[in-house]
Amino acid sequence: MAATTLAALARLAGRDALRHRRHSLLLLVMIALPVAGLVAGTALLDSLWQRPESDWIQRWGSLLVVAFWTLAAISLVAAVLMASAAVTIATRRQLRALGLLAAAGAGGRQLGAVVILQAAALGLGGALAGIPAGLLVTWALLPRLAQAMNFPSSEVPSLLVAPGRLLLAAGLGLLATVAAALVPAIRAARLPVTAALAAQQPPARQSRRLTILGITLVLVGLGLAGLQVWVAGSRWQPWVAVATVPAVLVGFAALSRALVALVGRTARRLPATGRLAVRDLARHPTRSAAAVAAVTAGLAVPMLLGTMAAQQVATERAYGPRQLRADQVLAYSPAAVAEVTELVPGARQASFTTAQDAQGNEVTVHGPVIDQYGITPSRGLAIGDQELLVAMGGEPAEAAFAGGAVVVFGTNLVPDGQVTLAITDIPRPARRITVPAVEVTTGAYLGETLPSFVISRQTAQRLWLPGLTTPPRYLIRTPRPLSGIQRDQLHALQTRLPGASITWAEPDPDLQAAAQGFRSITLALLAVAGMLALGSVAAACALALSEAGPDLTTLGQLGATPAMTRRLMAAQAWLLATGGGLLAAAIGLGPFTVQALASGQLRPRLPIPFLPTPLAVPWTLLAAVTVGIPALAAAAAGLLDRSPTPLPPRRGG
């Protein structure tokens, strides 16, 4: 294309961008924000990594880097999707001008060039605006972040800015804009001249291929999630887990247009405002699907991290060694029991023993399942009475216990109301016994290991366990969790009476710090993702408003009050954010749900039993993603909406 032609097209594109300043500003901001985020993120990481020896960086550094680049990639994808919708709307607005150009002899490539040049110019502007904004954010955040990460005040790192990173951020922003403009440019280039002159663009339809691709990718993603059951523990598991997320995410993004259309068809029974909101979204699938996909992309990361964390906690609770709770004390002599019960009024105590073989070793009880490493965890089998069950927190199983059942502390350990125990008590031959069992799940586990199985003395005899038992131990249950003062008193008791051997649960500071650190990162990611989602919804609403002018004017003419049009915009924002939030929840929970279901279904069919994966739902996070953020988006859209007056633009007459 000749330079003069290019200059003329650029002039045309520039004039149109200037005529529609608000729309141009919106596109500029869409690119400026992720560029600013990239600049701020890379500058913060570079600056903080000047102190690689910091405890915080040692512990959380790699996770922070992975989380940042994941969010950066997702925000760029979201920017491309939203910018694509903005360019599509701008092209629709320019159709008549493009038609006149075509009528004057411009070719398809030249028409496409107008679209790309306009987007590229705004993208470049956004990228250039994003750099100082990002540096400003870094400058403001760095000291606060260093403080939050417990850097000594003398070691607060200085701001480190690598010019290469700035160029990379600006280049990525520009690239994102050009990528966003490609499809609208191709559609403009192929438009029939008469249709362009009449400002009519054939509606974009969901291609069947895209739908099939979306369904296939979602199924592949869910299949990969199920595959994790087989590859659990192998070196392939992380790669399979990593492949699951993009497959499901891209699959849902490809399907979002079809999903939006599906929702549009179901709107008939909604009230007028809701129906209008849904139908409008369905009629403009490009911007609706882009907004839903952008919200999904933003919220999927914290949802995945949160579900992963919840599942880890649930796995620990289900299969971790049975340990003392904060309201339990283990004592090894009656004297110690007397001292403890004096210190903690209202405490109840129960004695228990474990079976012993002829050599004086504790009888080993395996089962009922084998863990993912192919090991049968050895679990203690306590013999006691109803008091022991109460002291262990197993009150719900009292009736079954009295009836001879084994009480199992944990989850997912008792399939079909019975359990198979592998008993080894040398010199007798190892044997397996299947007995009725009942499962009890109780609170948090910290401190000393306790038996996981509890049986009555009668049941122990019936199971032919050896008559020999270990000396009794005593489990004391306090009326409420031990306070700091009571733990100090127990420490003093141990010092005063070395013979009074007692154990209790102490809060593990490392464990608490680890949990706190992970929670902080998830919360920070949720905050950033929430902003990303709100930004996407705001951009989609602004785009909707830029197209909805005539409809809103008509509504005003028909007597809709400003409150009604605000409700309409709020409903649109809520629908977009809820759609994105629900998809993010599906992406976050889906792979883990499939994994849990698959492991439960497959367990009886495989030659060796293994631990089924527990399904854990992070309810608070789920509520934030599917209810909180959509409500916030709706409130913001409703409050910030400036609907036009009912008067149409003045013409002659």
């Binding site: 003419q557 028909l558 400003p562 007459g653």
Partner: protein
């Protein structure tokens, strides 16, 4: 007869200084129940401005406007919106149907906006569509209808809820002659049933359906006649 619309010495000025435009200047007009008044005049005469003021879409710079006895100047934004929902039906040249809603949903919209239950509003809208002969296309979206059909939907929307005043701003502007005649026949029939209507038109043939024709030029009412324009200009006018 009862006066449905009373416009008294109304003026409307836009802009200020050297860009100031006096769109209407001391216009008075009364429309009785069952009367169809046509407003004619060249472009820029103030016809649409007159309709906007009569419908409560805009406020006059001076003068008073009453719709079924209610002085519009005393109404706030919400009051004017309620007036548009309950007492004034508007038909525009550009049709102004909401593309995302079906024909029956478009017609039911003013009633639903007024808090009428969805089922009742739909029944009323179906009756209005029946009255304009479009009941069988009730669940069709606007872009699947012809221009004439869309305009009939717009008229049904203006009539739904038994509103006493109908304002039509060049409702036949985008239609062919045959469709235009049908629309005017419909408007005439509604007036004969007791609705007061003001019709802005450039076409003398359509003004022939009116009981009275008023002429505006440069924002002033320059003439009015109770006689329809000469028969030579009509083709199938009022029967």
């Amino acid at each position: 007869m009862t006066a449905v619309l009373e416009i008294n010495q109304v003026a409307r000025t836009f802009g200020s200084g050297h860009t100031q435009v006096r769109a209407l200047d001391g216009v008075s007009l009364t429309v009785q129940a069952g009367e169809l008044v046509a407003v004619m005049g060249p472009s820029g005469a103030g016809k649409s401005t007159l309709l906007h003021l009569a419908g409560g879409l805009d406020r006059p710079t001076s003068g008073t406007i009453r719709v079924t006895g209610t002085e519009l100047g005393g109404l706030g934004r919400a009051g004017l919106a309620a007036l548009r929902r309950r007492r004034v039906g508007y038909v525009f040249q550009e049709l102004n149907l909401i593309a995302a809603l079906t024909a029956v949903e478009n017609v039911a919209l003013p009633r639903e906006l007024d808090g009428v239950r969805g089922r009742t509003a739909r029944a009323e809208a179906l009756a209005a569509l029946e009255a304009v002969g479009l009941a069988e296309l009730a669940d069709t979206f606007p872009d699947q209808l012809s221009g004439g059909e869309q305009q009939r939907v717009a008229i049904a929307r203006a009539l739904v809820g038994q509103r006493p005043l109908l304002l039509a701003d060049e409702p036949t502007g985008a239609l062919d002659t045959l469709a235009g005649e049908a629309i005017l026949g419909l408007l005439r029939a509604r007036c004969d049933a007791g609705v007061a209507a003001v019709l802005v038109t450039h076409e003398p043939r359509y003004a022939g359906y009116a009981d009275r024709v008023v002429f505006l030029t440069d924002g002033r009412m320059v003439d009015q006649t109770h006689q329809p324009p000469p028969a030579a200009t009509l083709s199938g006018g009022r029967s």
